[in-house]
């Protein structure tokens, strides 16, 4: 079960947030939503922390999803990062600046694939913590 798995979900489109966050919650994840990188960074300071960052690339403001991922990676070197975009091309070089584990998911994404990927990443992270 995913009841205690915390997801930080960042997307500037409120309807996408509504549909996707609801699907993740239906599957038992705890989801915090942010409409931009500033909100995401503020949420990331919360004491309980997050098991995964799931962010869109294109967002309003000075910091886009790739830059956000890079900043979050510095704050938590182990957090899995899932990055969504409708434009796969030209992202390869930029994502190379964010150390692993980083996964890219093409928009429009299937909620089935999204939920399975988020579950796999957080369970892998928790599994590696137990081993360590």
């Amino acid at each position: 079960m995913a009841e205690d798995h915390r997801v930080l979900f960042v997307d500037d489109e409120s309807v996408i947030r509504l549909v996707t966050a609801e699907a993740l919650r239906d599957q038992g994840f705890l989801v915090a939503e942010a409409a931009n990188s500033d909100e995401a960074l503020a949420l990331f300071q919360e004491p309980d922390g997050f098991d995964i960052l799931f962010t869109d690339v294109k967002m309003p403001g000075k910091i886009d999803g790739v830059e956000l991922a890079s900043m979050i990676r510095h704050m938590d070197p182990e957090i899995p990062i899932l990055i969504a975009s409708g434009y796969a091309l030209n992202l390869e070089d930029r994502l190379g600046t964010v150390s692993s584990p980083v996964i890219f998911i093409q928009k429009p994404y299937s909620l089935t694939k999204l939920v399975a990927t988020v579950r796999m990443l957080v369970e892998k992270k928790r599994g590696s913590r137990k081993i360590n």
């Binding site: 699907a23 239906d26 980083v102 890219f104 994404y109 299937s110 089935t112 694939k113």
Partner: protein, 189 residues
């Protein structure tokens, strides 16, 4: 650098896919075999199950609030309310028919957010009622279009995908009606 790519558009993702093949060490979940979501008795993918649940609840909410609007709105809002009742009743019946064929039990109540919006709407009158109905309809239809588009493009069940695709023009027509009414209201106000 370890980069894994998930994609439904293979052509667009080719360069990244190449990286994933050489550098990836994680086995990626396969959405075609991942079927952990369920509505009622039938086993559906997470995508399909979420779509059925949300579409059913949104459809109930549309008919309910459409009836309220047909009773309490001004002439434009009454007209929109009647259209919503008529169109969404048909859409709900189509979804119910697909669900019955597949042994899927649909939700019988709307979610708490929708219920709260309906309760608030019922308590309003005059221009405040019209403005709130149109505002919630705008958001509701934007969400519904996102939901139906997602199912049309990434759903697994062919009947649900076909239903989503066939319903989208109606939802888009509703959105245009709502936007036109809001614009006319702003111009008049």
């Amino acid at each position: 650098m370890k980069l894994i790519v998930l994609t439904s558009l293979v052509a667009l993702a080719m360069p990244l896919a190449a990286v994933a093949q050489t550098a990836g060490s994680m086995a990626m979940p396969d959405s075609s075999t991942e079927a952990s979501g369920s509505v009622g008795m039938a086993k559906l993918t997470v995508q399909d199950a979420h779509f059925v649940k949300m579409a059913a609840m949104a459809g109930m909410w549309e008919v309910n609030d459409g009836r309220i609007a047909a009773n309490q709105g001004d002439s434009t809002v009454k007209n929109i309310g009647n259209t919503m009742v008529s169109d969404h009743s048909k859409v709900n019946a189509q979804l119910a028919s697909i669900a019955k064929q597949k042994g899927i039990a649909l939700p019988t109540q709307v979610g708490p957010r929708m219920a709260a919006e309906s309760a608030k709407l019922k308590g309003l009158s005059g221009s405040a009622f019209d403005a709130y109905y149109l505002k919630t309809q705008l958001k509701g239809h934007e969400m519904a279009i996102a939901l139906f588009k997602a199912e049309a493009s990434t759903g697994s069940d062919p009947d649900l995908k076909a239903f989503a695709t066939a319903t989208l023009p109606t939802l888009q027509m509703h959105l245009s009606m709502i936007q036109a009414a809001m614009k006319a209201g702003q111009a008049a106000g």
